[in-house]
């Protein structure tokens, strides 16, 4: 089993570390899946901390890595699953993000030292002519093949309504206010581009209406025209909005009535999917 990747472009390194810190804010433990084409960060709902939403982040390796080599367990299973603490990875990445001279390159390798490690080799420019290398070993756990099925790509849920969200910042602003009122928040949307975010308590009902949002075009349009809603835990949503350090070009919100809110953050080379299950006790 081998993995080696090298990043040179500073914007890519920064973007990568942003994604890692986004993941780190959501969960203590995540799964890193490396295939020939993509690198995935996966937070599995059941395995993660209770309050974190499920996450499926897909990174296009060609965009991030200048060199990329992966050798899985076997020819047919040419991929690697690792479990790691994103916080540790994020801290090591941050340590050179703050350093003034930007790193020249970042090599990511899978190594076996004292334990299985994801080794980050950072090449830093130094004051003199000599290049300086910093090696960080972040311990990881390899996931055996029999457990891979747990971390398979989630199917696109059979959603009832789907809209493009307004900028996440606006949503965050609204949600932060509502957080003080209730523990649960309801997303309602119809296929005409109306999104209603609401909370209701014994004393007050608050709802924010977004109108004329664009609606993504999905193939099978069995438009019922009705409004569908799902109620989710507001803390999970807050965590998602707070942690998100990447500015997606588009965010799609899919609602499976009374079951789930599915957020789809689209970026050129990265897609993040969040799964917020409907709160049970509503």
């Amino acid at each position: 089993m081998k993995f080696r990747g090298k990043m040179v472009d500073i914007t890519c390194i920064k973007q990568f570390s942003n994604i890692v810190s986004t993941v780190a804010r959501l969960s203590k433990i995540c799964v890193l899946r490396i295939t020939k084409e993509h690198v995935y960060f996966i937070i599995h709902e059941s395995g993660a901390v209770e309050s974190s939403p499920g996450l499926w982040a897909e990174l296009d390796q060609g965009h991030f890595f200048n060199e990329f080599h992966v050798e899985g367990v076997s020819q047919e299973d040419n991929q690697i699953f690792l479990e790691l603490e994103p916080d540790k990875l994020s801290k090591t990445l941050n340590s050179f993000k703050t350093a003034q001279p930007a790193p020249r390159s970042l090599k990511v390798k899978l190594t076996r030292k004292h334990s299985p490690c994801l080794t980050l080799e950072v090449e830093l420019p130094s004051l003199s002519v000599h290049a300086r290398t910093v090696v960080h070993d972040v311990p990881v756990t390899l996931i055996p093949r029999r457990q891979w099925h747990v971390y398979q790509e989630p199917e696109m849920p059979q959603f009832d309504s789907s809209v493009y969200l307004p900028p996440l910042r606006q949503i965050k602003h609204v949600v932060d206010r509502m957080k003080t009122l209730s523990q649960h928040i309801t997303f309602s949307a119809n296929r005409r581009g109306t999104l209603i975010i609401s909370v209701s308590t014994d004393v007050v009902d608050v709802s924010t209406h977004f109108k004329n949002l664009s609606v993504p075009v999905w193939g099978d349009d069995n438009d019922t025209g009705g409004t569908h809603s799902a109620t989710v835990d507001i803390k999970k949503l807050g965590l998602l909005l707070q942690g998100s350090q990447i500015n997606p070009t588009k965010v799609i919100c899919n609602i499976v009535a009374n079951r789930m809110v599915h957020m789809f953050l689209l970026h050129d080379d990265v897609t993040l999917q969040y799964f917020l299950p409907a709160a049970t006790n509503t």
Binding site: S95, A99, H114, V129, H136
Partner: protein, 449 residues
């Protein structure tokens, strides 16, 4: 002592205070005719910092020994002040630099206070009076000149290296060889070394201004204190020299800007442990054996080390020791009580033995009474004596009293609780099997919903 710091030097002085504050809780002020020393030592006495400001640093300097005020030959007051208080005075350096034109420092021996006065723009004068305690001079026994290894570099070189380490990293190992220096994390003391991040950084010899390493060597010391000196030296672009010999002997970092000021930081290094550092070096690197006494904080290994080169009578620590020993005594007392607890239970279960037991008991009582008399008299003391012969439930009360005595609210149940109520902590324990578990004696004080 009386001195005036010109506005241009306030920043450096303030930074020195900030740097000292990272080391210790108390700031030692020691004026001499040639200049004044500001010193600090950390609580485990493994780090010592000293800043010397020469008379040239000040616009005006008078150490207060002899001369004008008093009879000649009288020594200047040496004292210590609370670091927290002093740090508060210099808290916001940016605003100080912007507003203060000059600053006056003076030691008032009669009122036992350190006066700091900022003369600011627009005629504003801010005065701070910090009470001090007179004390002996703080002195660390070390010798730079006898150290075999010597490296010197711009502070930036080191601080750019140190920034790569995690902020919570406690210790680093500095491995030097003839052509390069490797700084790496020291992680043997964490609970699970396999879970820790290992960071390793290589610096070529060429990055250093001077480099004199006759023998390969590696020393382990605290990163926090190194950060403190770098935080001082980096903004003023001075070079930092390090002197060290071998593990177990202190490493000395020095910043020299003679004759204005110079600073020295002496850090304890970890004494060589035959099976920790050595095994880490090997490529196979199996963390099989660890030293028995967990080296959790750098205090334990380095403290003993430090004690040998740090020699000052310190009244405050002896007080601390007393406090410690009194808690130790208290726990002894508790075992005493539990002994008696067992004893009386035995007596209850076998009444026909009571006569022989009874003979033993007063003796035991005497023994513990003698023992207790060494500690400050508390009400528990009396309770013990009077209830010695009383049966189980009352002794229970005694337990409660002693327990409440040093219970800190919000702390998890202590080992003692596990000792007394052991059955409750067993995995097989089921609260519902206890008779009377369903009877609520007092309802919950606040409603959840």
């Amino acid at each position: 002592m009386k001195c005036t710091i010109p506005g241009s030097n306030i920043k450096v002085f303030g930074r020195a205070i900030h740097s000292l504050a990272r080391i210790g809780e108390e700031l030692y002020v020691e004026p001499y005719p040639t200049g004044v020393y500001f010193r600090a030592v950390n609580s485990s006495r493994s780090a010592f910092a000293s800043f010397h400001f020469g008379s040239r640093f000040f616009a005006h300097y008078n150490d207060g020994s002899g001369g004008q005020q008093s009879a000649a030959g009288e020594e200047a007051v040496k004292c210590k002040v609370s670091m927290k208080a002093c740090l508060n005075v210099f808290k916001s350096l940016v605003t100080l630099v912007r507003s203060v034109e000059r600053s006056k420092l003076f030691l008032d021996g009669e009122e036992a206070k350190l006066g700091i006065q900022f003369i600011c723009k627009y005629g504003i004068v801010k005065s701070y009076n910090l009470p001090f305690i007179e004390c002996e001079t703080l002195h660390a026994a070390y010798d730079k000149t006898s150290c075999t290894n010597y490296i010197k570099s711009q502070a930036q070189v080191l601080s750019k290296a140190v920034i790569n380490f995690q902020s919570n990293q406690e210790e680093v190992t500095l491995c030097v060889s003839s052509n390069k220096i490797v700084i790496r994390t020291f992680v043997d003391d964490v609970p699970d070394p396999g879970k820790a991040i290992h960071t390793e950084l290589t610096l070529e010899a060429g990055e250093f201004d001077s480099y004199n390493i006759p023998d390969d060597c590696e020393v382990t010391f605290c990163l926090k204190e190194l950060r403190a000196i770098l935080a001082f030296a980096e903004p003023i672009n001075l070079s930092v020299a390090s002197y060290f010999t071998e593990p177990g002997n202190p490493i000395i970092f020095a910043v020299d800007n003679h004759p204005m000021f110079e600073s020295t930081f002496v850090l304890a290094t970890m004494a060589p442990k035959s099976n920790t550092q050595a095994s880490r070096n090997k490529a196979t690197d199996k963390h099989t054996s660890k030293p028995g006494n967990g080296q959790r904080s750098s205090a334990s290994p380095s403290c003993s080390q430090a004690a040998s080169w740090m020699k000052t009578p310190m009244p405050s620590t002896s007080g601390l020791k007393q406090a410690n020993s009194s808690t130790v005594r208290r726990s002894e007392q508790i075992t005493n009580i539990s002994n008696r607890f067992d004893e009386s239970r035995a007596r209850l279960s076998s009444p026909h033995n009571s006569s022989t037991r009874g003979n033993h008991n007063p003796q035991l009582g005497n023994g513990s009474a003698r023992h207790l008399s060494t500690q400050p008299v508390t009400h528990t003391n009396n309770v013990n004596a009077s209830q010695l012969e009383i049966s189980l439930p009352n002794l229970d009360v005694v337990n409660k009293v002693t327990e409440e005595e040093d219970v800190i609210p919000g702390t998890p149940p202590s080992k003692r609780a596990k000792f007394f109520f052991r059955r409750c902590f067993e995995s097989t324990f089921d609260p519902t099997t206890v008779p009377g578990h369903d009877r609520i004696l007092a309802s919950d004080s606040d409603d959840d919903s």
